[in-house]
């Protein structure tokens, strides 16, 4: 009887920041990261950044279609995805380019995708990655299903799912986190809270102060981290991945970051947000911060950085050339009928034949006409 405060257990919500935008480091919390892992993360972030810039350039030249830039969010998806083994599952949304490439997606694949080729959603053979998911939040449920399956098969695999702040409003987000907690499935939910869902700011997306606290609804641990601080992201992700692998169930990680660029190349953010706000976040660039840290720790030299930049530039150039060459061979319209089913049903075959005939006739006409 009486009135008493309820303190939900199972789910403490912390805020974590280790390396701040001024270069201050909380050495007590500094995660132990092997040097080669640091270099892998740096390369992935840098490649992600440069490739993103290149894609934007290509878009402006009309050499690819609509593209959603990732600039400024690299620490959030690299600092988390780095914790996955090759045998773990990676379930992206559409703004994790650096991590996708780190996981093994080729740059050609991305170029094909953004040029409207279905070949751009072929995942590498044997890979444990899902292709990008456009319907917001929908992929979260697939991650839970994968995690359920991994638990069933007792393989120790962990699943990591990515999504944005806007995704937290969808029913699928809720259902996915709820089910994951019920089944104590080994899955880590990484929300890249870049503060905007196209033109809708976080405050119009939800009335909760943090997204991390939504974990409480599921009796699941949640943590909010400075998403531009790769050390904090890493530390939080390590805790979550370890917990998942040890049978401790799911975790929600909110990475507070910022969408520096437009939503996609079709979007004009000047319509809805101020240049000052953007500028303020430019100062918190995760890449600059991380580079400084690595230089200070002597994990890399200025010289090596320059060489790395050059190497990446060439890799990107080579990928663009390969992709553009490849596209000249691809695009056979008859491919649209394939792989809808393992075995093509009769009517679909008819449709394929009709188009083949039409193309052949058009070809003949073009030839003779």
């Amino acid at each position: 009887m009486g009135r008493k405060r309820i303190e939900p257990s199972n789910c403490t919500i912390d805020y974590l920041s280790i390396l701040d935008e001024y270069g201050n480091l909380d050495t007590g919390l500094e995660p132990e990261i092997p040097p080669e892992m640091h270099l892998k993360m740096l390369r992935a972030m840098l490649l992600g950044r440069r490739f993103d810039e290149r894609l934007l350039d290509l878009q402006r030249q009309g050499r690819i279609g609509t593209y959603p830039p990732t600039k400024g969010q690299e620490a959030a998806h690299i600092g988390s995805a780095i914790l996955l083994k090759d045998s773990d599952w990676f379930v992206p949304s559409f703004r994790e380019m650096a991590a996708e490439i780190m996981r093994g997606r080729t740059m050609e694949s991305a170029l094909l995708y953004f040029n409207g080729y279905n070949e751009g959603t072929i995942v590498p053979e044997g890979s444990k990655d899902l292709p990008m998911a456009v319907p917001v939040a929908s992929q979260i449920l697939h991650a839970v299903g994968l995690a359920w399956a991994a638990k069933y098969r007792q393989t120790g695999e962990v699943v990591m799912a990515f999504f944005g702040d806007g995704a937290t409003s969808e029913g699928d987000f809720h259902e996915g986190l709820n089910c994951a907690a019920v089944y104590q499935a080994p899955v880590v939910f990484v929300c890249q809270n870049n503060q905007w869902a196209i033109s809708v700011p976080l405050a119009r997306q939800t009335h909760s102060e943090t997204l991390a606290q939504k974990a409480i609804a599921y009796g699941m641990p949640g943590i909010q981290v400075d998403g531009n601080d790769i050390l904090a992201v890493y530390a939080a992700a390590k805790e979550a991945v370890d917990r998942a692998r040890d049978g401790g169930g799911p975790t929600l990680i909110e990475c507070v970051t910022y969408r520096i660029m437009m939503h996609t190349t079709s979007d004009d953010p000047k319509k809805y947000r101020s240049e000052e706000e953007v500028e303020c976040w430019r100062q918190r660039d995760p890449l600059i911060r991380y580079r400084k840290y690595l230089l200070q720790k002597n994990l890399i030299t200025e010289q090596q950085l320059i060489a790395l930049e050059e190497e990446i530039k060439q890799d990107i150039q080579a990928a663009v050339e390969r992709a553009e060459k490849r596209m000249q061979e691809l695009g056979n319209p008859l491919d649209q009928f394939d792989h809808l089913f393992a075995e093509m049903p009769p009517r679909l075959r008819k449709h394929k034949e009709a188009l083949a005939k039409e193309l052949a006739e058009a070809g003949r006409e073009a030839h003779h006409g």
Partner: protein
């Protein structure tokens, strides 16, 4: 062979497939200790345990969305949507993902999963529990739509659906669940998806039906035989998509007349496609316009009025007779 209801036959199919293959996982609402609200999963929880017969939270998008993940992983989820009237909560997961995963990844990933759901009227159920909207799925590229018409073919088709490498919508007519018994062999039996069946041979008129409508179609054939001495051919589709066009066209070329029957609302319903295929394949053989005997273009009325909504033998026979009047 044991005489079984459709519920029992489906239960047997699930049990046998689960025994055969530990990647077959059932999930849905109340399918565990309760055995499903229609008892299709009766006793399977006791036999296979909670990792094989998984009660889910009350969330249809989760059931389908998790199944997509499980199927990509390599399992074969068979999910139960408690009533097809609540499958819409999962529509986006079906259309955006289940139906597309193979196509999007050019065959690299695929989702062998079955979505079972009871559909149709005639059992005095509450509202939202009696609709017949299989056309939504038949119009969705990437899905197969299977609708059995009795215990034996239900069992064989469910086995085929589970083994199918692609997502299958498997609609079960509630009206057939317990209303008839058939011999169903203990031994394995499958039926090919995409093949219709001549339920009764004839040459005067072709009556095309599926699911719970096969019975009134056959009764209509009886009426026509009795009163008009007319041999109607009754085709039981079994699979709505892909449609067994070849069999339909061959029959109508022979009879020159056709009646298409379904419970679903008429407009933009499954019957329209059948008419269009016959127009394409048998136009010059048609003696009269094809008749559609279908649900009306309204919502299935609450159960006190539902009988009047459902096509019955008399209504079907009358339509068949109309194909003989110029």
């Amino acid at each position: 062979m044991a005489k079984m209801t459709m519920v029992e036959a489906l239960n047997m199919a699930l049990r046998q497939e689960m025994k055969r293959d530990d990647s077959v996982i059932l999930l849905g609402q109340d399918i565990g200790p309760d055995g499903g609200v229609f008892r299709v999963t009766d006793r399977l929880f006791a036999e296979f345990g909670e990792n094989r017969v998984v009660d889910t939270p009350l969330a249809e998008a989760s059931i389908v969305g998790m199944s997509v993940g499980m199927a990509v992983y390599g399992l074969k989820p068979v999910c139960e949507i408690q009533f097809s009237g609540f499958i819409y909560q999962a529509f986006h997961q079906i259309e955006n993902h289940a139906a597309r995963m193979r196509w999007r990844t050019r065959g690299r990933l695929h989702v062998p999963m079955v979505m079972r759901a009871p559909y149709g009227a005639g059992v005095r159920a509450l509202e939202h529990h009696s609709e017949s909207r299989e056309a939504y799925w038949a119009h969705t590229p990437g899905l197969k739509v299977v609708i059995p018409s009795g215990p034996r073919n239900a069992r064989a088709l469910l086995v085929s659906a589970i083994r199918d490498p692609d997502p299958v919508i498997f609609y079960e007519a509630k009206a057939l669940y317990r209303s008839l018994r058939e011999d169903v062999p203990e031994e394995e039996e499958t039926l090919p998806i995409g093949r219709a069946n001549i339920a009764r041979a004839g040459d005067a008129v072709t009556i095309i039906a599926y699911g719970a409508m096969v019975r009134p179609a056959l009764e209509a054939a009886d009426l026509l035989a009795e009163k008009e001495k007319m041999a109607a051919e009754v085709i039981d589709l079994l699979t709505l998509s892909p449609l067994d066009e070849e069999l339909l066209v061959a029959s109508v070329k022979k009879t020159g007349r056709a009646v298409v029957v379904h419970e679903a609302p008429q407009s933009f319903g499954p019957g329209a496609e059948i008419v269009a295929r016959l127009m394409e394949g048998a136009f010059y053989y048609l003696e009269a316009p094809i008749e559609r005997v279908t649900g009306f273009d309204t919502i299935v009325p609450y159960f006190s009025r539902e009988k009047s909504y459902l096509p019955g033998a008399e209504r079907i026979a009358a339509a068949a007779r109309r194909t003989f009047i110029k």
